[in-house]
Symmetry: C2
Subunit: 77 residues, 2 copies
């Protein structure tokens, strides 16, 4: 596995995390999988150890589960 895989489910929190990560990581090095559009990838994600979304599976197989915390300003806004 040479690419990272970013799994999400299309919710606003996921999309926000996706945009943030893609601004930091070279987009050509990340595959985006949206479970809301393609449930056929769920078994792969489970096999990789993904327990929640959004999550980033790195090229070496580690799973980073990401909890996006909105800023207070965002909540108030």
């Amino acid at each position: 596995m040479s690419k990272s895989i970013f799994y999400h489910a299309g919710c606003s929190v996921c999309v926000s995390a996706e945009q943030d990560l893609l601004s930091l990581i070279n987009p050509s090095e990340v595959e985006i999988v949206n479970f809301a559009e393609d449930t056929s990838r769920l078994p792969d994600a489970e096999k990789a150890g993904v327990q929640s979304v959004p999550a980033l599976v790195t090229p070496n197989g580690n799973v980073l589960h990401i909890n996006f915390g909105a800023s207070l300003a965002d909540v108030k806004g």
Copy 2:
């Protein structure tokens, strides 16, 4: 704020997440703050909305809380 800031506390889980992230993100675009070495940065992190470590604060101020999920192979190994 033009750089991302990665906050962690020196635990093995944090360091593993750090290495993973730094392999994906250009290291020159990320500042690493280790609370185990420098507690003076705690107020900054709290102000940014960091609630747990490891966490990545992105240039636009969003906070990504990262729960590193070890693979079963790692747990067994």
